[in-house]
Amino acid sequence: MIEVSGLSRHYTMGPTTVKAVDDVSFTIQSGEFVAIVGPSGSGKTSLMNILGCLDSPSAGSYRLAGDETSKLKKDQLAEIRSRRIGFVFQSFNLLPRESALENVELPMIYQGVSRKNRRERALAMLQKVGLDGREGHLPSELSGGQRQRVAIARALAGVPSILLADEPTGALDTKTGVEIMELFHILHRDGATLILVTHDPKVARQAHRVIQVEDGKILADVAASEWVP
């Protein structure tokens, strides 16, 4: 599903060059549940931005579902994000003036799905994340956990190849965080490809495979059960 080889992302800041991602290679198969873990400044966010097609690498190759993405233009990247990637953010990033249902419909608007199909699929997604009956609520009328569920439903609505979650439990209390992780396990069991970006080893350990990043390089790439932080 994901093939990364020799991937680098360098930022030039005045005279110095920051190697946020430095010559990284790995592959992720369809249906895997991978955690990318590392402290802040390790380069995991830069790596996630490239995996999410929000950014392009300075060097190297990134193939997503067989398509090389490293040389794509802005709108082509947007097309890939629209078709293949579902984002879940730490701060949910729901549109505050749109209802839960309308937030879930959003990615399908950009896919050009008809209004009727959009509505049906959005309702199904909300049901899947356990929010049936809350379709008409505004984000401000929902709890943090519920908001993150809406965000997950929204990420799933576009039927993406991979689900990319950036610290999805970071803004939640422990109990709610556990519930959200359970939801990810269910999604994984149903066949989703999950990439979880976190600084928290406890969260990372719940994935099946851990890619540990530090100073832009991969420090470890092992099964979660064998991982020693």
């Binding site: 994000r81 078709r83 950009y110």
Partner: protein, 408 residues
């Protein structure tokens, strides 16, 4: 962009406008005022143009005015022929009357002087106009009571007078039949033969009309005329008639050219052109000022849209992450700007049409709303939305999704 995406944009824009009602209203207000002002000002201009046309028509049709002297300061219309040295002779009149009736249909010489009119104890200063029987036809002014004096009155230098409307008010209180009453002009008694219709301009309404022969005997002894009213036989040949008259008079007066002649001919068409030109400039000026206010309204829209883009940076980032392309973002913000400007434009059209009616009903100003001006100003407001909404929308579309997502 599909129709459903467009609908989605309209829905989202309306929601964002509803979330900031006061701000949206104030933003659209600029366009409202601008559009309304353009329509109202163009209506005033068109009204002015119409009233110029109709007041020229009321002068008479196919009118040529042969004046003594030279035009003053390029103006073709002289307010009054009083105190001008008359240079047009009886022989000139005979020659003009003898011209092709296709060119010259009728002729009425006219001389005038200030004089004193008395009726009973009332007394007032009037313009005494000595003229011929064709005057009412040529100048399109007709008696409403009695009649204009007759050819026999002119032949036998009768002391008869036709009163202007203002004098009827002053002497008779605007009531009763003045015909047959005696009015004194410069001390001499005249029988009132008729009363002229009201023209609404003081020069005509404050005049009294007597036979030219009577005028020359009792008012001013001179045999020559200050002004000759001439009606051309055919509208299409007015300029031809003008040239023919000019040529004839140059010959009779033994003058080499019009520049040094002691007469000139004003053509109604030239007057119309001049006055329409003035009214046109006036319209352009008013419309231009109003258009500037519309542009200022557009700048208001741009300003608010830029604020809106900044405020919604994070939202833009989210939309981009979810797959929105450059054009999706542009379309979203353009839709919002266009809704603001078109909404403002629609209300502005109503304001403009309403206020131009108010001008004519309560302000006593002639104003005519032309459908073209509505289309024009509404179209202009749409263009304003496109142009001034375009830049903020473009700015929004060029945001970096990573930066935008991180924006607090």
């Amino acid at each position: 962009m599909t129709g459903s995406a467009l609908l989605e944009n309209v829905r989202m824009s309306l929601r964002s406008i509803r979330a900031n009602k006061v701000r949206a209203f104030l933003t659209a207000l600029g366009v409202m005022i601008g559009t309304g002002a353009v329509i109202a000002m163009l209506a005033l201009g068109a009204g002015a143009q119409r009233s110029v046309e109709s007041s020229l028509e009321s002068l008479g049709s196919n009118l040529l005015l042969l004046y003594s002297g030279q035009p003053k300061g390029g103006s073709l219309v002289r307010r009054s022929t009083t105190n001008i040295v008359p240079t047009i002779t009886e022989a000139d009149i005979v020659a003009i009357r003898a011209m092709d009736p296709e060119l010259v249909a009728s002729v009425a010489p006219e001389s005038s002087a200030s004089g004193q009119a008395k009726f009973g104890n009332a007394s007032t200063t009037v313009t005494i106009v000595g003229t011929d029987v064709e005057y009412p036809t040529i100048r399109n002014i007709h008696p409403v009571m009695g009649e204009f004096f007759l050819p026999t009155d002119v032949e036998s230098r009768k002391a008869v007078v036709v009163l202007g409307a203002q004098l009827y008010d002053d002497f008779f209180g605007g009531m009763g039949d003045p015909v047959g009453q005696k009015v004194r002009l410069n001390g001499l008694s005249y029988r009132v033969a008729g009363l002229m219709e009201r023209k609404g301009n003081s020069t005509t309404d404050l005049s009294v009309f007597i036979p030219i022969s009577t005028y020359q005997r009792y008012i001013i002894g001179a045999k020559d005329f200050a002004l000759v009213n001439i009606q051309a036989g055919n509208t299409d040949r007015m300029r031809e008639a003008q040239s023919a008259i000019e040529a004839t008079l140059l010959r009779l007066h033994k003058m080499p050219s019009l520049e040094v002649a002691d007469f000139y001919v004003a053509n109604q068409l030239d007057l119309l052109d001049t006055l329409q030109g003035v009214a046109g400039t006036f319209t352009l000026l008013l419309g231009g000022i109003a258009a500037i206010s519309l542009i200022v309204g557009g700048i208001g829209i741009m300003n608010i849209m830029l604020v809106s883009v900044t405020e919604r940076t994070r939202e833009i980032g989210v939309r981009m992450a979810l797959g929105a392309k450059t054009n999706d973002i542009i379309a979203q913000f353009m839709t919002e700007a266009i809704i603001l400007s078109v909404g403002g434009g629609l209300i502005g059209v109503a304001l403009g049409v309403g206020s131009s009616y108010a001008f004519s009903i309560w302000g006593g100003l002639a104003s005519t709303v032309e459908p073209m001006s509505v289309v024009l100003s509404f179209g202009f407001s749409l263009v304003i939305g496109l142009v001034f909404g375009g830049y903020p929308a473009y700015r929004a579309s060029q945001l970096d999704p990573i930066e935008a997502l991180r924006y607090e």
